[in-house]
Every structure is written in C-alpha cells, then in structure tokens.
Amino acid sequence: MALVEVIDVVKEYRKGEHVIRPLDEVSLEIERHEFVSLMGASGSGKSTLLNLIAGIDRPTSGEVIVNGTAITRLSRRQLAHWRAAHIGYVFQTHNLIPVLTAFENVELPLLLLPFSRSERRKRVALALEAVGLSDRADHYPRQLSGGQEQRVGIARAIVADPLVVVADEPTGDLDAESTEQILELLMRLNTELGTTFLVVTHDPRTAGIAQRRLRLEKGKLLDRDCPAHVATITEDE
C-alpha cells in the first residue's frame, strides 16, 4: 500500500459567480521514502494538492489517505493532532516565529507530542545537526541568512520524524548558492534518513533532484516520469 493515496480529488472555489476548479479528479500515490516533485504553472493547483496532503485544506470531493488514515474524514481537531505527528511542512518564506530562537522554533512541533524535555532537547539537537546549524541554535531568525532560515525550517519539519515532508517552493526565496545547499540537504535527508518528500516547485533544478517528477496542468495531473528509484532505506533501517 502506498504511503500517500490521493483518490479522485476535486477542489473547487467559488469566486463571485464563477466556480474555479484548481484540482479536477486528481489521483496520486506516493511510496514510502520516495522523493516526488510537483511542477506546474501558477494557479495550476500544485500548492492546493500539497495542502490537501498536508491536511491543512479539504477537498470538495475525493479522498486523501496517508498511511492508511483517511485524513479527509478527520475532524478539525483530529486533523491538527494528526499533522503534529505525521506531517512536516517546509514553507517558501521559512515562516519561522520571529520571537523564538532557532532551537525554540525547531522544538515547537515537539511541544505538541508526548516527548520529555530531555527527549525534545536531543531531537532538536539532532535536527539542527542534520541541517548543519548546531552552532546557530541560540540565534533568532533575524540573525540568520535566508538559506539558514530555510534550513531551520527544514529542521522544524523533520524533527518529529514525520511520515511525509511537504515543501512548498522551498528554494523560491533563495539565491543560487543557498538553493544548492538546500537541495543537497533535501537529497541527503531522503537518502540517509529515508524521509519521504513531496516538493512543489517552479524550478527545474529543484524538480531535477526528485526520483519522480509530476506536473499539474489545469487541475489535471500528468505523470511525467515513472519512479526511477526509491530510497533504498527500508522501514526496518
């Protein structure tokens, strides 16, 4: 069974008298440890699809199943608890909490889970080490570069060891050098930790690191490539 199953999902918005349908009967499966990129023109519905899988939006019809849980059937509160335990979200604009240090930002998701203080500290330290920012733990977002902020955002997304990390244009606000570092980091997390990624991007270079590249056009999903390879790390490892 695939880790993520999107089944005949339709999403409609009403804008005045017009009905906009960014997703039109989209179906998709993402395997565990897979790295999937999703490209498409602006307004093609790629962020909408990502938000549905992340459980922060609901489809008009269809089903989204993650690791066997039909998240479309969860209540708002259940969905929040589910997100805390199973989803990591990397934003385009980092969206770190400005009044918290890098350490505290990364720790936030763990505050929602039953971890002890020492366990939280250990996990945050590991996450910051994984993104190469152990020495910036006490820095506030304003004291970090854009690339560093994004790495803290990635640490926050992986710290609870989620089932899936979704990233919405993770390199969209970065210069070339920072983009390179972030892409290397995402690849390393996928290959070394086996993290499952779904990355929405405009950037062909970012899409290029994915094992499978998908494209959305006018609400329809085009499967460009078949799975080339899946990260070789198994659940047991």
Binding site: D57, R76, H81, R83, I97, V99, L100, E104
Partner: protein, 378 residues
C-alpha cells in the same frame, strides 16, 4: 504550559505595545481599586460602629465647633433607663469644612476612654495619658501620616500637645483619631469651654431599645436652654459626611468606567496582535496546534496583559491606600481610606476576568481563520 515561553516571548517581542497596554490596565485598575478603597472608608463610617452607641449633639448644629452642651447633661443622661455609660467629649478641630488636612482632637475623660474604645497601644503608655494634662493618644494612621512618635510635641491652633502613646484599633476610622484629656480642651487658652462639651457618646444597656433611649434623652432636655439631637453613632457620622458620600458615590461610576476602558484597551491590543500575526497563527496550526490551542494562546496573551497590568494597578493602589495614610474629613468626622484584602482580591479577580474577556473575540477570530488563506496573506 508548554507554550508559556512562546506566550511571554511574543508579548516581549511586541514590548512597546505590551507595556503600553499593561500601563493602561494598571492605571485603570489603580483608579478602580482606589475608588473602592474610598468607598470602603465611607462604608466603615456607618458600619464600623455598634448600633448600640448613640451620639448626643446640640440640636440644629453641624460642625462640632458649634455644638456646646453643658457637661452636667452627662449625669442626667446616665440616670435615664437603658443607659449603660456616658462618655462626654469635647471636639477641637482646625477646620470645619471638607479637607485632606484636618486635625481633630477628641477630649475625653482619660479613665473612661478604654471602656468606650477597643484600643491597643503600639507605643507609649496609658498611664502617661491618664496623668499628663497635655497628653495625646494618637491613632496609628495619624501618627504614620504626621510622623509622630512618643514624646513629640505638636501644635493645633493655639494648643500644644505631647504624644503619650500611639494606638491601633479594630476600626480603621478610630486609628485616624487623636485623644486628649477632656479638661485640656476645656481649660485651654482661648477655648472658653469650662463645663462645656461638644457631645456625649452613650452606651445603650443590653436589652434596651436604642431608639427609645435616644428619644428619652432628647425629651429630657426639651425644655432646657440647649436642646439635643440624639442619633445612632453610625447614622450621626454618615449624616456628617453625607455630601462626601454623594461625591464618592459618583466616583464609583468612574471606577466602573475604568473597567470598561481597560476591557476596550486590552481587547483592541489583542485584536491588533491577532491581525498582525494571522500568518504566524496559521503556521502554528500547520505544524499541528489545534484551533482551540490557538484560542488558548491568544487568550493567554490577553490574560497576561490584563492580569499583569491589573495586578500592578491593584498593588499600587493598595500600597497608597494602606501606607499613604490618606484620609478625608468633614465636620469633624475622619474617613480613613484603606484597601482591604477583599478589595484587593476583587481587583485582582476583575483584572484577570477582564484580561480573559478581552481576549475572547480576538482569540475566536484567530482560531477560526482559514489556514491556507492566512498563509497566503503577506
């Protein structure tokens, strides 16, 4: 509790706004508590006295300086049925109008004072008061306000007295009083009061009807040159400070207005915070905080602002009321202001309730906002 640091850091992150709001709440709760303390002082005038104590005053007189009763009336009153004891009193004051700087000397027979007042000496001795002609027993509130100590001399008008003791009393209004020997105020230079007193305080015997005793006293002197007007002590003093009571009653509305003010202030600050941080709350929800979690976070910030400001205001008001030795006096009756434990508790509760109430609507807005829409907002 795990998010307490986030709440406090968020408030500190917007410290100018937070401090201004805390300051506003503090000022409002200061006024609310201060007005409460003033009202409490007025209430003590009518409730602090045993209803079985009567005051016999000259009829149609208001200021104590104008009431002059023959001291011999005391024997007639003492002989009436239902009268347990009589305390003649000569009242001397430096001002008859409403003032913050009134000094009142109550001249009483020294041996009788303790039978009529529940006093505890905190300094000095009763024996000195009973033997020294110009001795004064000074209430703790007056002593603190005037920085008087045992042995000090002070002058009121042309009278100079020596502090023989400082006392505390169960009734705060009494602590605002200065007692001297009766004869000192009768024979003092320029007083022209030999054989005269201002009033009598009458203890009604157990089982006797105070109203009937008061009527009997006034009836006894109906045909005399100087007629009397006898009332329960609380009623007498409430009547004396009647105009002040009306003023203080109006000030009560000011206290309630302050509550509305702080509610509006904290609510608007919290609302601004929610609008400014709509995206941040959406991020928190994205990482897994539920809508009711966001509701509680906003409510917590609002409660901290209202509660902290309120606590500062209530504490400051209590300090000023209890240690500032503030009092107001008119027609010889002193009203001592103080903040009781009950008033402080009410002030703190009001502050906390306001903090929470002010946050409900902004918290609801933050909790119910659409995550995707909020993330898209700039």
């Amino acid at each position: 509790m795990r998010f307490l640091r986030y709440v406090l850091k968020s408030l500190w992150g917007h410290r100018t706004r937070s401090l201004l709001t805390v300051g506003g709440a503090a000022v409002s709760l200061f006024v609310f508590t201060f007005v409460g303390g003033v009202r409490g002082g007025m209430d003590q005038i009518s409730s602090g006295w045993n209803e079985r104590s009567l005051i016999v005053f000259q009829i149609h007189r208001f200021c104590p300086e104008t009431s002059r009763l023959p001291e011999a009336y005391g024997k007639t009153i003492a002989a009436l049925p239902g009268v347990a004891d009589v305390l003649p009193m000569r009242v001397f004051m430096n001002n008859c109008g409403a003032t913050l700087d009134l000094i009142v000397l109550h001249g009483v027979p020294p041996q009788k004072l303790r039978a009529f007042r529940d006093l505890s000496l905190v300094a000095g001795s009763f024996s000195e008061f009973e033997t020294r002609r110009d001795a004064a027993l000074v209430g703790r509130t007056v002593a603190d306000r005037r920085r008087l100590r045992v042995g000090d001399k002070f002058t009121v008008g042309e009278l100079t007295v020596t502090v023989a003791g400082v006392f505390s009393a169960s009734n705060p209004a009494v602590e605002n009083t200065i007692y001297t020997p009766l004869e000192f105020l009768q024979y003092g230079r320029g007083l022209n009061s030999v054989g005269m007193v201002t009033q009598f305080e009458v203890k009604v015997a157990d089982g006797a009807d105070p109203v009937a005793v008061a009527r009997a006293i006034d009836e006894s002197f109906r045909a005399d040159r100087v007629q009397t007007d006898t009332r329960a002590k609380g009623v007498f003093e409430s009547f004396a400070v009647g105009d002040l009571a009306e003023l203080v009653g109006l000030a009560g509305y000011l206290g309630y207005a302050c509550i509305v003010l702080v509610l509006t202030l904290v609510s608007s600050t919290t609302m601004m915070t929610v609008q400014d941080r709509a995206r941040e709350y959406a991020v928190l929800q994205t990482i897994g905080i539920s809508w009711d979690g966001v509701f509680r976070l906003v409510l917590a910030e609002s409660a901290v602002l209202g509660g902290l400001g309120g606590a500062l205001g209530v504490t400051a008001a209590a300090a000023v009321l209890n240690w500032g030795g503030l009092s107001l006096a008119t027609e010889g009756v002193s009203v001592a202001f103080s903040a009781s434990g009950g008033l402080v508790a009410i002030g703190l509760t009001v502050a906390m309730v306001i903090g929470l109430a002010a946050g409900v609507f902004p918290a609801w807005q933050a909790a119910r906002s659409d995550i995707v829409e909020a993330l898209r907002s700039s």
